[in-house]
Symmetry: C2
Subunit: 455 residues, 2 copies
């Protein structure tokens, strides 16, 4: 019986960029018409993506609430709540749902990010209705007593201790974000600040549940060996019985002011083996961008630092051998303005200054000369292909739909993705680089061993 | 007729530190017993400080609300509201109050800070009751229609344009604060972010008024040619008629996480004539400090950089001639953890690096060797004397009481101030320096001309 969920926090770090950047807004390769999208009477959006290659279904329920929706001083409640969803309801005892999944040979997981919280199970198609029943049940019937809340808060505190407090990378990353975003809640870590996690209580959990956990604030994504009619029938029989919650106000968060400064965030820590360098900018997301700028930023990230064929990797890792790893990424899937980043870590005798100079030089070249038509074509191909790969995996596909629909995107946008990517011109890529990758409004991060103190 | 109030925004800058640092928690020299402090039935706190030297009274009404109490995304509403208070009520037309003050030869002003908003008039004692009537009237009877709100918002936008947007110092200062405070609302400028000011509307103003403008959220301070009995009678006849508002929750703001990084905030701007350097730390305030740490920080600020006798000034300005100005300050009067800062600007051929090194060296000396008994004694004398000077001015005295009582302090604490300052030991001063002035959790600011680009 699994009492503590495996929950993957989408901390904004290069490490997780792979998931966040590439597949999320992808899905290109879906033959349009294959995907159904409808809404139940109680407001629950449903997306069905049949995929008959294996007798498996992926059932994912996404809530349009993440850490950036938390009230001030209550950081961590969205993630805390994700944990509480694995406790018992008035119908099913603690661990009963997880136990059942395990018994039928299924897999489950859950994750919390800035803009959404999601729960999923992968099971045989015959189990789909049972998954829906359990999931619909915990949407409203959780038992939130103090003897559930208290011990789970200790679990979260321990989770923060082990994932963040004991990791210079994580601690440094938190302060880089807190510096990059001066006003927007993407400043605040998804897991929450320790001093606020410690204060979270039953009233906070109940408020959060009442406010955000309702069918009209959720998106159900079912992929795999099913058809629309079956999903519709099962969803109506299960989720359909859950009453609509009160209407939620639009998700308007504080926006960033115009930034006018270069900022540097340095941390020295004895536990740091290999130093690392990064530079970040606030840029538009797929949801906030206009005129194809998001697609151009995606291509820019791809050409500059998306994988082994990218300029930064080729130059800094392969040719010069200065870095053990280096790259760039664009976190396009976000409700609000988001992050574009470059990063690298020195190798051998190279210093962090060497790596910084070499990476920054690659940015400077694009700012000056843009990218070539050949690079553009190859980057497009890679971007589209990565969606095909994502699509090849049921849960990857479900994630694309869930993350897009909970961050202001649409099914149509996903279908049009390859077209949108293919419309990007080299001039547009240069233009977004010039417009957004301005060192005068960037945040540079240095994570250094103690001996390499740059005071 | 003065439609636009002179409002002094207590932006957290060295420029305003003089007011914020020295006199606010001062008032030492008050012969205890002279001051009355009582509460009306509707919750209005009243402080009376007779001062018979001139036939003048200072009437100050302080509200326990400032920019740090604003809802997320509504920055600037506290200051905006200060402006709206000069518009008409259902009883008195726009400008009538100001016109009256002017007619009777009085002075008036208002100011908004992180923790409070205050309104004051200085008039002949015979006018006190009229001031109270006007002030009590606008506590509840403001006319807040769209044709009042819209034009005044334009005034505020223009104020931000002229005070902030056109000032590299102000723009840079805002981003330094936004970097220093990672979670607490002292991060956000008192005047508000432009993009949020632009969205403030009638509903925001009405909500703010209903929530915060009530006798049980205010402190009346009357200083000058009056006695307690008169003030009590007049206050009961005027303010006493205003109904108590709903109880307000405790003023609990998000607190800072543990900081682990050195941050640097650099701005290059063609309009910068003389570059400037500063370094800031988050430290306890008089309200949050324990065991005399605030008093020790006050003395530390005094010895390190409080005026011309201080170490930094003597070394960097007088002896080395490196800087045109340099110093340190502690902003002790604050509801939550606050700022300690050092700063300086080069002169002649000196570079900003020279100034930085020289100022930092003074901090390092105190971290290593502490301060001398002689310095301690002189700093205490200066601190206490500055309160005597502050007390010599009616409005200075009223400000001490108002700022202290709206940031969690008491009349008794003000009375005990000289005693508390005199109890500080040299060891305590060294201890707070070592504990709080740690470069590894500091924010350095560089404001530079364009040609001096440190990229």
């Amino acid at each position: 019986m699994k009492l503590i969920p495996d929950c993957s926090l989408a901390l904004r770090s290069a490490a997780l960029a792979a998931f966040l950047v590439v597949p999320v807004t992808a899905a290109s390769a879906l033959e349009a018409g294959n995907v159904s999208h409808f809404t139940l009477d109680n407001g629950l959006e449903v997306v069905v993506v049949p995929d008959r290659r294996a007798p498996v279904v992926t059932h994912m329920l996404w809530y349009k609430v993440g850490s950036a929706d938390e009230a001030p001083g209550k950081s961590g409640i969205a993630h805390f709540f994700e944990h509480l969803m694995f406790k018992g309801t008035s119908t099913h005892g603690p661990g009963e749902f997880s136990g059942y999944i395990s018994k039928v040979g299924g897999r489950e997981n859950a994750f919390t990010s800035y803009d959404y919280t999601a729960y999923f199970q992968q099971v045989a198609p015959t189990e789909l209705k049972t998954m829906m029943s359990f999931e619909a049940d915990r949407m409203r019937n959780l038992v939130l007593t103090d003897d559930v809340i208290g011990p789970e808060r200790d679990v979260i505190i321990e989770e923060r201790n082990s994932r963040v407090e004991s990791s210079p990378q994580a601690l440094h990353g938190e302060e880089v974000s807190a510096t990059l975003y001066q006003n927007h809640p993407y400043r605040i870590p998804v897991i929450g600040w320790m001093q606020e996690i410690e204060q979270l209580n039953r009233a906070d959990a109940v408020d959060f549940y009442q406010q955000f956990y309702a069918p009209n604030n959720a998106v159900l994504v079912v992929t795999g060996d099913v058809d629309e009619a079956t999903v519709r029938t099962l969803a109506e029989e299960t989720y359909g019985a859950v009453e609509r919650g009160p209407d939620l106000p639009p998700r308007v968060r504080p926006v960033e002011p115009e930034q006018n400064t270069r900022r540097i965030v340095t941390m020295n820590d004895a536990r740091v083996g290999v130093p690392s360098y990064s530079k970040r900018w606030v840029v538009p997301s797929y949801t906030t961008a206009k005129d194809g700028e998001a697609e151009a930023l995606e291509i820019l990230g791809e050409v500059l630092g998306g994988g082994m064929r990218s300029r930064i990797y080729q130059e800094v890792v392969v040719k010069n051998g200065l870095a053990s790893g280096a790259g760039a990424y664009y976190q396009g899937t976000a409700l609000d303005d988001t992050t574009f980043a470059i990063y690298g870590s020195p190798r051998g005798d190279a210093t962090i200054e060497d790596v910084e100079k070499a990476i920054d030089a690659e940015v400077a070249k694009i700012l000056k000369d843009g990218i070539t038509e050949d690079e553009l074509a190859k980057a497009k191909k890679r971007a589209v292909r990565s969606m095909i790969f994502a699509r090849d995996d049921q849960s990857g596909m479900a994630r694309i739909y869930g993350a897009t629909l909970t961050t202001g995107g649409t099914v149509e946008e996903i279908a049009a993705y390859p077209e949108r990517i293919n419309a990007v011109t080299a001039d547009q890529v240069k233009a977004v680089a010039v417009r957004y990758l301005d060192a005068r409004r960037s945040v540079t991060g240095y994570l250094l061993p103690v001996e390499d103190d740059r005071s």
